[in-house]
Symmetry: C2
Subunit: 297 residues, 2 copies
Amino acid sequence: MDFVRTTTETGGARFVPPEDRIATFDQDGTLWVEHPVYSQLIYCLDRVPVLAKEKPKLKNVEPFKTVLSDDLEAIAKLPLPELLKIVAATLTGMTTEQFQAEVKKWLATAKDHRWKRPYTELTYQPMQEVLKYLRANGYKTYIVTGGGQDFVRVYSEEVYGIPPEQVVGSAGAVKYGYNKDGKPILTKEPKLLLNDNDAGKPEGIHLMIGRRPYAAFGNSTGDRQMLEYTKAGDSARLSMLVLHDDAEREYAYGPAQGLPNTKVGTFTQALYDEAKKDGWIVISMKNDWKRIFAFEN
Amino acid sequence: MDFVRTTTETGGARFVPPEDRIATFDQDGTLWVEHPVYSQLIYCLDRVPVLAKEKPKLKNVEPFKTVLSDDLEAIAKLPLPELLKIVAATLTGMTTEQFQAEVKKWLATAKDHRWKRPYTELTYQPMQEVLKYLRANGYKTYIVTGGGQDFVRVYSEEVYGIPPEQVVGSAGAVKYGYNKDGKPILTKEPKLLLNDNDAGKPEGIHLMIGRRPYAAFGNSTGDRQMLEYTKAGDSARLSMLVLHDDAEREYAYGPAQGLPNTKVGTFTQALYDEAKKDGWIVISMKNDWKRIFAFEN
């Protein structure tokens, strides 16, 4: 609230004109739950049976065979290159409109295993309040996510009040062409244009927004460069990190607090040290948040 | 005006909700003068002497030697691959902030040879009116240009009232790093991420905006796919082409009207035929525009 006051007080020394008020938010682990695994990966795994119906040959090809086996232990052990085969097979090869329709359909029915609720309900109430508070003060809010840009854009407006054009994410190429009726279509290609993680976050911000944010929010080492870049701007800048330290109400992970390490949302001691040194604010989910989800009483 | 009325009339059958009101504009030849050559290319040529001061070796290397010779005829004859060497040398290798400062400085002093005015004054008054009219009716206006995204973003707010994040253009990669004081910087790299011409326009619109425009404006074959893509959407859609047929007040070019051919802003007979067939509106600068520039009386 100090930051917002300082940057919006007319006549103040650190006043920021409305057009420059840009705030960027990581999604997974910052705006919604990312454990035990990113929702988008569950989408990809859930798509495999559909894919196997369309292309029966896949049933005997790894890693699709393992995913279809429902052997959860084997699925959990799939190495990254194998997972990327599933990602490529389920996120590309269709038109952008087909993809949007498929994601919408999935979101309407898929449920998280722990809370038995749609993934879109697993957003953090305090972060929703931050989004609204910043927008009420003239800030334009963006998602800057390592997740798929096309995926997050399907629900960003409904879930976060953030329109598709304000979602920056890992982005694949699309190819312009025509369907059999001669109608223009865009087909999703297995070619990565922007890997929106780590250094890719400030690079993606430059590509898609073109200005340095005044405020940035993240929760893992993948957000480090975005928070550095934001904080390095002149005048007042705000960088905040969400620390997952509440095993009871959500999850606890990250070696910075002596918590278990994780590949999903790593929060290292080095990140914690940089935050303290550079004046970023670390949010403790356990101590700072009264309520985590809107559906809690 | 029919299109705007139709899409904004509450309760109408073809009403478009405000968040979907996207209008895209090509820049060179659609919003400002592109002849005899794109302003950005003049910027690049003007930068060569500065570059040669920093790197004296360039004085004896082609094509820099020719550009420094001031032999206009020889410069005009430089083939595209040679021009691209100049483009790469003058648009990359510096930080994004250095580049912005250089472009700003150039825009403040450089003048067009015919009108002896800053390039930023050579925008078409009727198109400025279209931009304002659409915005007044809830449309979000975007530039979708084959020109450099970073270049156009320097002046888009001041010249067109379009903020940097609403400029989609040909975009090079930037690389995140640190300067000698450890401060984060983004360096412009000689690697093209998006060639925002032809099919690259709808592809770029998907990447940067994520929705199909309801209105699109262009003036050359490089805009064809953007106009097709726009017009192919459901409900009311508007595609317009500016035809340069006024040699007296501006320039006349394009074989569609029996006018001389040109590499800068080609308007072929095939484009004209597609426009007529698909219901795009062709604007005659000569017959439809009372005034071309704001500085005219």
